[in-house]
Symmetry: C3
Subunit: 137 residues, 3 copies
């Protein structure tokens, strides 16, 4: 069985980390699938998906680390297009746009302190749309 | 339904970024599956998969960033084996060899400026082979 | 068909890299599925999954690179909770908790020098549990 869903929300940009665990869990609960995988995919090239312990200290640390790894700067993308978000694209490509999570008996298989997050690396507030594919039986 | 396909191409190495979106899309179109996911997997330990806005400025920026994050150097892998591509392996492990993308009505669910790319981190031209698994109904 | 399995093992922590290829391959062999994908998922927020050439020189290099990219430090997570493993969380979020690998005729599709690894970024020995979902026909 293949079920397609999407979830939408607003972000503030600038490495805004959004906890989507409950919404993903709800879509699984509301689907007819009890065991399988869910692929969550970020449409667009300036957002990424991963898991993290969703705790404000660590979210600040994550933002700092991304700024150290791929700082703002005079990237060629910016110079060529008059943009200012090359670092957003580069961070998104590094973190990746796709996350596949297993679930069993309609419950996501996650650690106790592990949440599913979308990270908006863009430099302005955005409306975001994620595609969910629930595959299983 | 499970459909197995592969795509092959030549690269120049040294963080050569190859846009495979059209070829992946074509394999979905030619398959009997209309809704599901496609897992794209890079065989070998010096290549990775992600998405990016495929624009020459940003591709240069991506190459520069990878060189800053994991520069060429006297890694133990090189010293031990007389190799020079330890940085290629390390970059590939960081970016990751696997990407799963949803599709609906035989169309990849991607953002407007979001392309699927294989990145060849090796230090010489290579012939590459990617495995595709199309799963759905 | 959807088959759920798990594998458990002990680690030493501190970027301990565990080769799980043979155990994953065995679960596929022992399943009734001959062609499909396997999603491997790391429960917990201080471990990650990727592929690498499992060779002691390169494993040392990988550890060094992770320490350069995300060093130990006075992160807010540590200050707030009296913890010392913020860098473990951050590295795990960057590498990612999920890996999906294709298999055909009950054999993992991997390169010759490409192994599936779990990386324990935590700062102490841990017992780890990975969820496996085998999907295919």
């Amino acid at each position: 069985m293949v079920i397609t869903r999407s979830i939408s929300f607003s972000t503030r940009g600038n490495t805004d980390v959004i906890d989507i665990t409950e919404r993903v869990q709800r879509e699984i609960k509301n689907s007819p699938v009890s065991s399988g995988i869910i692929t969550i995919f970020a449409l667009g090239s300036t957002g990424g998906l991963t898991t993290i312990e969703f705790e404000s200290g660590l979210l600040s640390d994550f933002k700092d680390v991304m700024e150290q790894l791929i700082p703002l700067g005079d990237y060629r993308h910016n110079l060529k297009w008059g943009d200012a978000n090359a670092h957003s694209h580069l961070r998104a490509s590094l973190v990746g746009p796709s996350l596949t999570v297993p679930f069993t008996d309609k419950e996501l298989n996650l650690g106790t302190w592990q949440q599913i997050v979308f990270v908006d690396f863009d430099i302005r507030p955005r409306n975001r749309n994620l595609i969910l594919k629930i595959i299983g039986e």
